[in-house]
């Protein structure tokens, strides 16, 4: 078993009275998840009054979405990372750079997803130097897929890869569990379940860049209002021929709906 996951026990002195009692407390380092991971709850041998984030190893939530338009892509994500009931990071940017014009959206185990993104970032840098030009989005997605597939038993992360290249324009690829599939748009994370109906109904072919941005913001806002594990602010990245533009939309600027 991985050494970092072995439970550590220590004795803690408690109380200010004359009789000092010692208490055995079992802790293990917390593992933070973005969404979608099925992890067994760690069973404590005795009751502990610690906060959840010290001992809980529970799945957390996310909503990520990517959509292509003629000339580029728009990616969006929420910003919540939670462990149990605690939100350990309310402003995390889950859209991470793989190359100048290729980004990926992270979901699942935070550690797994970030590591995959860093590895592919490195591999793409080397690859782009070797070929002497910007890499294709398909290459980035294939590199992510190779890692996801080879280590599919150990990893639990789902990355949506999206970007622009001069051969294929804007492209969105899903790499769930090691498959590779190009789609006009993709949603992922625990919050995505609540918006499948909405995206199916609202998506139209050949939307403009502004329509896509509005579509992404509406979808994120709906998912964040229904999914307890998604929330915070919305991050948007728009990638086209000229480059990538990052944007952050605060909670009070998000669109609201009939019951808000």
């Amino acid at each position: 078993m991985d050494i970092s996951k072995r439970p550590q026990t220590f004795e803690r002195q408690k109380g200010f009275s004359n009789t000092v009692r010692t208490e055995q407390v079992s802790t293990r380092p917390a593992t933070y998840y973005l969404s979608g991971a099925k992890i067994k709850r760690f069973k404590m041998l005795e009751e502990s009054s610690e906060p959840g984030w010290l001992s809980e190893e529970v799945k957390t939530g996310t909503t990520i979405i990517a959509i292509e338009f003629d000339g580029g892509v728009v990616l969006g994500s929420d910003s919540r990372v939670s462990a149990g009931e605690t939100v350990v990071n309310r402003v995390m940017n889950k859209l991470s750079l793989l190359h100048d014009k290729i980004y990926c959206a992270l979901s699942g185990s935070a550690a797994d997803a970030q590591t995959i993104a860093e590895m592919v970032n490195y591999q793409l840098d080397v690859h782009s130097i070797e070929v002497g030009e910007d890499p294709q989005v398909r290459s980035a997605a294939t590199l992510v897929k190779n890692i996801s597939y080879k280590y599919k038993e150990e990893l639990s992360a789902h990355l949506i890869v999206a970007g622009w290249d001069k051969r294929g324009g804007g492209q969105v690829y899903v790499t769930l569990n090691g498959l590779l599939s190009r789609q006009p748009f993709a949603v992922g994370g625990s919050g995505s379940a609540y918006v499948y109906g909405f995206v199916d109904a609202e998506y139209r072919k050949a939307m403009s860049k502004e329509d896509c941005q509005q579509f992404v913001v509406n979808t994120l806002s709906l998912a964040m209002s229904r999914d307890g594990s998604s929330g915070g602010v919305a991050y948007l990245v728009t990638i086209d021929e000229k480059g990538a533009e990052e944007k952050c939309i605060l909670g009070n600027e998000l669109p609201t709906f009939y019951d808000q």
Partner: protein
């Protein structure tokens, strides 16, 4: 929520993993449901009617265990019929909803039933009450239930507005149900709709090839 289907053994547990929805408008309610009953992976009934009349102007939409919800609906139909004779007038939708809640809450450990009660009465007009698993009771202007409901929360939030007309509600419900049936493997078949108002109940069936189509399909 496991169902075991053993083709040799006669014990099986038909379940309505379903999508049900109810919307109120000024003057009545519109309710809708899919039509699939499954026992494991086998579709036991592909044309189920999950919209059950409880009284002349009160219906319930059933999801969860088929046996449990049928039994509860029968009990409430009897209780409500008796109550309405004693009262000598049409019962209130709130009464029907509370009767459902009483049964669902008392036997919450044994039952698996998620019910939406909707109807029209002359005191408050069209009303929708939802009694999910566990026995809570809450009134909402629009409510979805069943396994397919998770996929249409976003669609419902963005497309429902207060004070819609009956036709807008019918379009909202049939659109939402067809989206859920598309994404949820446990919902499917035809869409059954009913519009309840002071003048009566107007039922319709939308067949698979007449459902609204979306560009991703």
């Amino acid at each position: 929520m496991l169902t075991l289907y053993n083709p040799i053994c006669s014990l099986y547990n038909p379940i309505y993993y379903t999508t049900i929805m109810a919307v109120e408008y000024d003057g009545g309610v519109v309710i809708g449901a899919d039509s699939r009953t499954t026992t494991g992976a086998y579709i036991a009934n592909r044309v189920t009617d999950k919209l059950t009349p409880i009284h002349d102007r009160i219906f319930c939409c059933r999801s969860g265990s088929a046996a449990d919800t049928q039994a509860i609906a029968d009990v409430v139909t009897y209780q409500l019929g008796f109550h309405s004779i004693e009262l000598d007038e049409a019962p209130l939708v709130q009464t029907a909803a509370n009767l459902f809640k009483a049964s669902c809450y008392r036997y919450r450990e044994e039952l698996m039933a998620g019910i939406i009660v909707a109807g029209w009465d002359k005191r408050r007009g069209g009303q929708v009450y939802t009694v999910p698993v566990g026995g809570m009771l809450v009134r909402q202007p629009v409510s979805v239930g069943g396994s397919g409901s998770t996929y249409i929360y976003g669609y419902m939030d963005s497309n429902y507005k207060p004070n819609m007309t009956k036709d807008q509600c019918l379009r909202l419900v049939s659109g939402a149900l067809s989206l859920a049936m598309e994404r949820d493997g446990s919902s499917g078949g035809v869409v059954r709709l009913a519009a309840i108002s002071e003048t009566g109940v107007d039922r319709q069936v939308i067949l698979g090839n007449q459902l609204p189509k979306w560009s991703t399909a």
